[in-house]
Structure formats: structure tokens, C-alpha cells
Amino acid sequence: MRLSPDELIFWQFGFFKINATIVFTWATMLLLIVASKLITRKLSTDLHRTRWQNLLEIIVCGIEKQIADVGLSHPLKYLSFLGTLFLFLATASLCTIFPGYEPPTGSLSTTVALALCVFVAVPMFGIEAHGLGDYLKSYIEPTVIMLPFNIISELSRTLALAVRLFGNMMSGAMIIAILLTITPLIFPIFMTALGLLTGMVQAYIFTILAAVYIAAATRIRQPNSKSDGAL
């Protein structure tokens, strides 16, 4: 039994390899891109529009509203990053209803990669908002003594992001796999439904935490507003 789709390797050449994680990621990406392309191919600017366009508009506007609710003053600037994060994670979770599909988020490599992206993106947005000096200064606030703790906080929350998502997604897949061996009927369906819920919640949490981190970084002059998700 595999703990991670990383272990299913289709092709390998030295350091380079194509495993199930990458393949399923590509599949998810393809699905997202093709769907987006198909729907946005004939967008209407009139009052009348297709149901698919309506759906996409609801999703995009919903994400934008969530970002704004977190406290980011220019949600459109962060929409591409945070929105893609959410859509990728949500799609990966939803696709678990297809038999044989293994969510790429069930791989710690993927979650680490996404967490690293957030880890890099947060200071980038912070520096873009306030400049390098001000951003770095935030690490020695309120006192210089806080510098190591701030750095540890940055690292640990990134690790927490990665492990939290991996744990939830992997556990869901694992539970289903175990249940299939014990009670192949009925129960796996409930667990799949639960897994879907968990996956959507995790996608939401991951995205909101990333948004909170970015908000904290861009509101660097107000250290009290800096909050760390404990989920």
C-alpha cells in the first residue's frame, strides 16, 4: 500500500521522474484550463449570460470577496495566486470521486511545494507593498529579541500549512482505502462524501491562511493585527 502517489513512478531518468503526483497534477491543471478556456471562449458582457459563465463569475467573485474579507485592500492583485491555490486544491479534492484518481495534494511533496510558494509569496507581497527595509524591520518588532521567534514562526507556519493539508488529504484517501478492504459496500461512500467535505474545507483553510499571511505582511506596520492560524 502506497502512502503517497509519489511512490508510483511512471518514468524516471536519474533525478528526473514522472510519478503519479505530477501526472494527476497535470490532469487537474488540464481540466481547469480546458474548462476555463471553454467557458470563457464566448463570454457575454450583456445582462444575459450562460449558466457556466454565471458559475465562474460566482466562483471568482466569491474568492475575491473572501480575500477582501480577510483584509486585503486590493483583492484583485492577489486573486490570481490565492484563487488558483483554492481552485487547484478544491478541484483535486472534488476529483477524488473519480475511481482511480489520487489527489496530488495527498502527496507531501505537493503540499510542501504549495507551502513553499506561499512562503515565498508572503514576503514578496510584503516587500512590494512596503519595500524591503520596512518588511525586514517587521522581524525585529516589537523588539530585536523577537527576531528568532518571528523567523521560527514563519518557518513553522509554512510547515504547518504543508503538513495539515497533506495529513487531511492523505488520511482521507487512506481511510477509504482501508475501509474498502474491510467493508467494500456503503461505508466507503460515506467516507468519500466526508473526504469531499474535508478536502473542500482544507482548500478553504489553506487559501484563507495564505491570504491572512499576505495580509499580515502587507499590513506590516500594525504588528498586533498579525495573526497566525492555529488550525
Binding site: L3, S4, D6, F15, F16, K17, N19, T21, I22, T25, W26, M29, L32, I33, S36, K37, T40, L43, S44, T45, D46, L47, R49, Q53, L56, E57, V60, C61, L76, L79, S80, F81, G83, T84, L85, L87, F88, P104, S107, L108, S109, T110, V112, A113, L114, L116, C117, F166
Partner: protein, 273 residues
Amino acid sequence: MLIDWFTVLAQAINFLILVWLMKRFLYRPILHAIDEREKKIAAELADADAKKAEARKERNDFERKNAEFDQQKSELFSQATEDAKAERQRLIEQARQAADSYTTKRQESLRIDARNLDKAFIQRTQQEVFSIARKALIDLAGVSLEERMCETFTDRLRGIDGMAKARLTETLRSSSDPAIVRSAFQLSESQRQKIQQTFSEIIAKEILVRFETAPDVICGIELTINGQKIAWSLADYLSSLEENVDQILNNKQMITPGAESNSKDTHLAESHS
């Protein structure tokens, strides 16, 4: 080992590619479409606002015009009422004047009628008086009266003098036609001779005289020859009297034309008396 670093790297790159692709194929077109729609809606709302403002303006204009129209209407109405009152007053005045004029005319007409009646009455009375006088004289004409008339006629013939006598003499002498003596009654032979004799005395010549009886010569005798006429009769006196009375009456009417208008009845009574 749960973490495969190549996979981490590949997934990070995949994610960044996905971000770019999603931005390219999803967010940008969707947001663009939303913005376009919002712009359109905003334009439509602005247009609606403009139309609303215009409608409000037009409504205000309409209300203002309505108010002006109402005011004009009331002004015109009051003016028309005033005009109608004035016209009514004028018509009433005109009617009163017409009525006054008609009354005056009628009074004048009545006055004229009364005057004409007076005149007719007077004339009739006069005619009656004279006709009674004539009838009385005709009835009274007897032999003695005829004698007396004959004498009076001959006396008048004799009494002619001067130019009249010369002209009469000349006429009697030169005339070939007989002289006509007309009388109201049949002259007796002696009377005829007497008249003939008188002619002879006057012109010293025998002339032919024809005697005729004419009832229209009232109580009198007249001589007619070649258009000349010598006569004596009561009709002359009566005519003279009639002329005098007419003259007196006319003078009276000329003197008192205004005083009689208000007292027609009195005047009539006086005329009767």
C-alpha cells in the same frame, strides 16, 4: 522519505504555470466581462438617471406651465366675466334708451294722433256749423228774402264804380254772348226786368241776359260774363266766415303746440265745448 524534492520542485513549477494559465484564461476574461457589464449597467443607470432628471425637469416645466395656464385661465375668466358684466350693463342701458326712445315716439305719436283728431273734430264741427247755416238760409229763403236779395244785387251793380265799372261796361258792350245771371231760386219776371234795367242804366245799352237757376248759389245772385263775375250770396259770407275761423284755429295751433301735449284730454274737452 515522504518528500520527494524533484516532485516538490516540479509541483511548484506546475503551480506557477497554473497560476499564469488561470490568470490568462479565467480571471482576466471573467473580470473583464464583469467590468464591461458593470460599465454597461452603470451607463444604463446613468442614462436612466439622466432620463429621470430630464423627466423631472419636464414634469417641473409641465407643472409650471400648468400653473401658468391655470393663472391665465382664471385671469381670462375674470376678464371675460368683467366684459360680460360691462356688456350686460351696456345692453341694459341700450335697451333702456331704446325703450325711452320708443316711449317718447309713442307719446309723440299719440300726441300727433290727438292733434289730428282735434283738427278733424274741429273741421267737422266747422263743416257742420256751416252746413246748418246754409241749410237754415236755404230753408228761410222766401219771396221777401228773394226780393231783398235781388235788390241787394241791383244795388251792388249800381254801387260799382271806377275801374271795375269801366271794365264791366266794356265787357258787357263788347261781348257777343249773353250775360248769365244765375240764382238759387227762380227769379220772377219783375225781378228779371229790374236786373235788366239796372244793366241798362249802367252801360246805357240793352244787353242780352240769360237767367239760370243754380242751387249751389246759396241765397244769392251772380252775374257771369266773359269770365267776369259779379255776385252776391250768403255763400260768400259763409266762405269768408269759414276762412276766418280756419285762420283763428290755425293760429291757435301754431301758438300752443307745446302746451297741449300734456293736456290732450282737456284740449279735446275744450274743442268739444
